[in-house]
Every structure is written in structure tokens, then in C-alpha cells.
Symmetry: C2
Subunit: 359 residues, 2 copies
């Protein structure tokens, strides 16, 4: 009941008050930058804090109804440059507003999401950000009902109709990739997707099929391999694809990390990119432009996504009454050197986008 066992408690607001010879609400006032505190007393309090090495107890503050000045972020995957970029930009945006970030990772364990959301939203954090690849879930509904500030960072475009979300034109991005590849003359295009419960993976696969259909190209299930957005899975998928009796002339990986794996598999078999194989990624993480050859990919505005989400959340925290809206950021196909027409392809007709319209 006193403090955690065996541990001497650290100085509290009352200790400071005693040391400074003031009431402890005065201490609270200087803590919260209140207007009406006599400069002298303020000084005394500040000094006392200094001497005692006082630090506020965030929990107590939060419990008492104050703000914790902390926002929570739940991500499913660390170690992906995609996540890292977003986290960093969120962190920076929050820092300028005087907020701290607490990060929780589910490591792909779906059920942990609710645990962390509960944890964070019951006082610990003033708001939460979610960066998870899944669709609508009950705990979001709860947050909404509680009118608790939160915003979703999404890499796809299928959402419950009520959550504030920042997302990108990711589906179009996938379509762009396919158009580009098809226009180059590729007919056998491999696709390395994600787990089927990753909405973005499903979305990209859907775009893949739609683009094929729009060009009257047949869909060959053998050309679709599931990954999980990790390097390893990309490696396995690329291996399977290139082991096919009739391997693809191009591979579209649903994220850059898996595209990097395609590079490595190709190289280990003497397959040259882009001469023998074209490859396209998704996300445009920093490393993509450094690859050899530089990777053609769909740029997601990672920094801006994080920043926007953070800003939206901060707004929601300041003004819980006004519901945050959805923002869609543009993706962009950045064409680098990892694609070219297939080796056997004789360019019989001039490049045209006409045939791929209406996807």
C-alpha cells in the first residue's frame, strides 16, 4: 500500500510544499503554470522541487482528472522501416505539442490490441493512435461510444464508417503498378501479398485481379503467393514464384521489404533485374532508392501520414466534441530502374493507357 515493496518513495507534492513552506495546492499551481501565484512563492517552490528532485506522478495527475500529456500508439510490427518512419514522425509532431508517446507492439497477435487499447484508454493516455493492418473491430466501437479520442492510421481504404482515419490512395497505387507493368508488356505478373487478414493485402490483391481483368489478362492463381510483409516471407514467396515451370516476367510485392527479398532471390539465381525480371514494391521506404537497381515502388507519404494522424488526434483531444474526419493522402508511383519490358516482348503496339482504363 505504501510504495512498491522495498522501494523508498520519491518526493511528492506534499514534500515539496513542506520544504517550500506553502500549501500543497500552491505547488500544484506552479506545476500547472497557474496565473495567480506570487513570484516569490513560485521561486521557493521551484527551488524546493529542485532540491528534492521532484517529478510529477503522471498517474496521480491523470487519475485526478488532469491530462497525462501522453498518447498511446499501438502497432503490430516493429522492425519494418514503414512503421519506423511513421512512428518517428508521430513522435516529432507530438513533441512539439508537449506530448509523449507510449508505444505498444502486438507482434501480430490480434488479441493484444484490445488489451493495449484498454490499458491506454483507461486514463493512461489522453488519446490513442492505431497502426494495425486489420479491419473494423469491437474495441474501436467502444472507443467511439465512450467518445474517447483516437485515430486510425491505415494502409488501406476499407473502414467502419465512424472512425477518424488517415489513409492513402493505396488501392489506386496498386492499380498504377499493374498498369505500368502491363503497359510495359508483362503478361505473367507475380504477386506477393500479405496475410489474408491484412486488409491492405487483400486490397492490393484485389487491385491486381481487377487490373488483369480490365486488360483481359487471365488470372493464374499460381502467380499469387502469400507473404506477411516480412523479409523472410518475401524470400520464400519469390523462391516459389521463380521455381514455377513458367515463371513470371515481373513481380509485384505488396511492400518494399518483400521486394528486397525478391532482389536477393533473383541475384542468387543469376536472374538480372530488370533485364530478366521486373520488380515493383510498395511503400517507398528510404532504402528503396538505394537498391541496385533502384526500386520502382508506390510512395506512401509516411512522414505526412504520421504527422497528420498526430495532429488529428491532438485536435480531438483538445476538442472531443468535434469529431475528426477522414483524410486521404495521395500515393505516387515512383518509377525507378527495376522495370522494363519483358525480354521476349516485341513492342508491337505503341504505349497506350486506353486498354487499362476503368480499372
Amino acid at each position: 500500500m505504501s510504495d512498491k515493496p522495498g522501494r523508498p518513495r520519491s518526493a511528492t507534492i506534499k514534500d515539496v510544499a513542506r520544504e517550500a513552506g506553502v500549501s500543497y495546492s500552491t505547488v500544484s499551481r506552479v506545476l500547472n503554470d497557474y496565473r495567480h501565484v506570487h513570484p516569490d512563492k513560485r521561486r521557493r517552490v521551484l527551488d524546493a522541487m529542485e532540491r528534492l528532485g521532484y517529478t510529477v506522478n503522471l498517474q496521480a495527475r491523470s487519475l485526478a482528472g488532469g491530462r497525462s500529456q501522453m498518447v498511446g500508439l499501438v502497432v503490430h510490427d516493429l522492425g519494418n522501416p514503414y512503421t519506423a518512419q511513421i512512428v518517428q514522425s508521430i513522435d516529432e509532431e507530438l513533441a512539439t505539442a508537449g506530448y509523449e508517446l507510449a508505444l505498444h507492439t502486438t507482434h501480430g497477435h490480434h488479441h493484444k490490441e484490445a488489451v493495449y487499447v484498454d490499458l491506454l484508454t483507461h486514463g493512461l493516455a489522453d488519446g490513442v493512435l492505431m497502426l494495425i493492418p486489420l479491419g473494423p473491430t469491437p474495441y474501436l466501437r467502444q472507443l467511439r461510444d465512450r467518445n474517447y479520442p483516437y485515430v486510425i492510421l491505415s494502409d488501406h481504404q476499407q473502414h467502419d464508417g465512424y472512425s477518424p482515419v488517415v489513409t492513402t490512395t493505396s488501392r489506386q497505387g496498386a492499380v498504377d503498378v499493374m498498369q505500368c507493368l502491363i503497359e510495359l508488356g508483362h503478361r505473367r505478373i507475380g504477386f506477393i501479398g500479405g496475410r489474408h487478414d491484412f486488409v491492405s493485402a487483400a486490397e492490393r490483391l484485389d487491385a491486381y485481379r481487377a487490373a488483369l481483368a480490365a486488360c483481359n489478362l487471365s488470372f493464374d492463381p499460381a502467380l499469387v503467393q502469400a507473404g506477411d510483409y516480412q523479409y523472410r516471407s518475401g524470400y520464400a514467396a519469390a523462391t516459389a514464384l521463380l521455381d514455377l515451370p513458367q515463371p513470371p516476367t515481373a513481380i509485384f510485392a505488396a511492400n518494399d521489404l518483400m521486394a528486397f527479398a525478391v532482389y536477393d532471390v533473383a541475384r542468387s539465381r543469376g536472374i538480372r533485374i530488370p533485364k530478366d525480371l521486373s520488380v515493383v514494391g510498395f511503400d517507398d521506404v528510404p532504402q528503396a532508392s538505394y537498391m541496385h537497381p533502384p526500386l520502382t515502388t508506390v510512395r506512401q507519404p509516411l512522414i505526412e501520414m504520421g504527422r497528420t494522424a498526430a495532429r488529428l488526434l491532438l485536435q480531438a483531444i483538445e476538442n472531443p466534441a468535434q469529431p475528426a474526419d477522414m483524410v486521404v493522402l495521395p500515393t505516387e508511383l515512383v518509377i525507378r530502374d527495376s522495370c522494363q519490358p519483358p525480354a521476349h516482348f516485341s513492342r508491337r503496339f505503341p504505349s497506350t493507357t486506353a486498354e487499362t482504363k476503368g480499372v
Copy 2:
């Protein structure tokens, strides 16, 4: 003072008590798995919780002296597979013990460390883990004085004499690399280090110099390039090294990520690995073995490091009286295909370790 503005409060222990028709200390008892609660009442309470969608408020619990069942982890760099691996193993180890992980990232901003440590150690977490590349700091001393449970995860071997730390034989790892390279016949060995305030970088550089000296090889400052353990910096450093009028025949990068960059720079210039250039990394992150050619590197037991640190911390939490000790895990030079004797090197003498003894 009630709840955060505009937000309906969620169910509390009292609501549950009312709903179940018991006193609220009884609710607390079932919450904490107390022995002496009548099964009937327990059921009623559990049902009431269910109905009300009750979740404990961790802060309140922690404030009241209970455990928060949460441990904090402060890291300086996300998006590095090194960090990711460790975080994941920590997470897993904690999960089995019923603890949650809260992650805070400093993104290299040294001053944020103290902020987060304060945050976590003042009630929020039952203990903290630190994964930062820096040397001894005042806030650690404070933790020690407060007898607050913490453990350092370190990639080097220079420590204050009192903090519990799990580390590796990293210096020896660096020496091993140099011995290997020198034995192969390399005389001009480039080194890509880290920021000078990263202790591990200094340590590896020191090992580099010592190994050179031990073999009577001269030290050429031009062969040493600073990086910051990120891909980009490795790219720049490798570029500088290979631009030298007399470029190195081998490059030792202080971590794998920077070694990957060496691969890409080399490839972009038609330099073949290992024929024209040998390269060695450090850490053995998963991707290393997939590179082409597979990267020779120093394996750090990432998973075990995380697991050990977590276990140590848990022990310290259970028994704050007994100080945790230091554990040193072994590194291992894993030789893959990215090294061979330099092109011009005629192997005049049989391979021997004699000349590199005593480093």
C-alpha cells in the same frame, strides 16, 4: 475533475459492486484473485463485470500501491532489425509472466531518456529496461539509489560498476573480425563506425586499432568512416571508402545495416563481393544470411539478450532486495561468403593465428 472533458467515464469497481450487490472491496478481492471469496459472490461479481464491460484502471491500481504489471523499455532507435528482434523477445518473455511492455523511443535524442525514465519509474511501470547505446548517466544512479528495478541491455562492455546489465562479448567479436580479415591477407581494411558517443562504436573502433597494432599493421585514418548505425550513413561511408585513391580490400561495418549499404554501393560500381571486396558486418540480423553473398558477421544473441534482460528484471521486481548481476553472453563470428583473400594476395605463408595473438 470528473473525467477528461466531454468523455463519459467507464465503469469502475464501484459500479460493479453496485451491480453485483456486494461491497467494493469484495470486487477488488476477486480482481486480485483473493482466496477467501464466496464462489457465489465471485460469480456475481464476474458477471457484473462482464455486463458492464469493466476494465481495471491501471493507474489507480498502481497509485494504490498495487503492481501495474507493466514494464517500460526505452530504446533509441526503431526500425533497426537489431532493436526489433530484441524488443520482440522481451515482449514474449514478459507476456508469459503476465506483464505488458510500454516502449518509448528517443530517436537518438539523448535528453529524452531521462524524461521517459522519470515517467516510467514514477509508478507507471514496475521496472524498466534500457536499450541505449550510451555510457553511464545520472538517471541510472538515481534509479539505483531509489532501489528501483531496472536492467540495461548493452551492446558494449563499458559500464558503471553498479547497474545490472546484460551484454555480450562484443569487443572480442570485433577483434575476431579483424583477425579473420588479416589472416585472409587483407592489409587495407576499411572501418565504418558509429557516432562517437555510441560506446559500442568506440569499442569496435578500438578493437580495430588494437588488432591492427597487434599485427604491426599501420593505422590509416582515411580508412575509418563514421556512420550512425543507419543504412544511409553506411551508404555514405562506403562511398567515401571506395572513392579513396587507394581503396580498402575489405570493409568492416560496425553493424549489419551499414554492411548492407556497402553491398549496394559496391554493386552500383561493379565491385564484386567477395572477389574485389570483402565485407563483414555485426549483429547477424535475420536478413544477413539472405544477402547475396550471405554476409559474414558477428552474431549477437539478440533473442537471448532480450529474454535474459526480461528475466533479470522480473527477478528484480519480485525481489528488489537482491541486486541483479551482470550477464555476458557470447558473440560468435559466423563466417559466410562475403570474405576471401584480396585479389592481389598471393598466399605466401600458411594460415596461422600466431601473428595475431595477444590482441
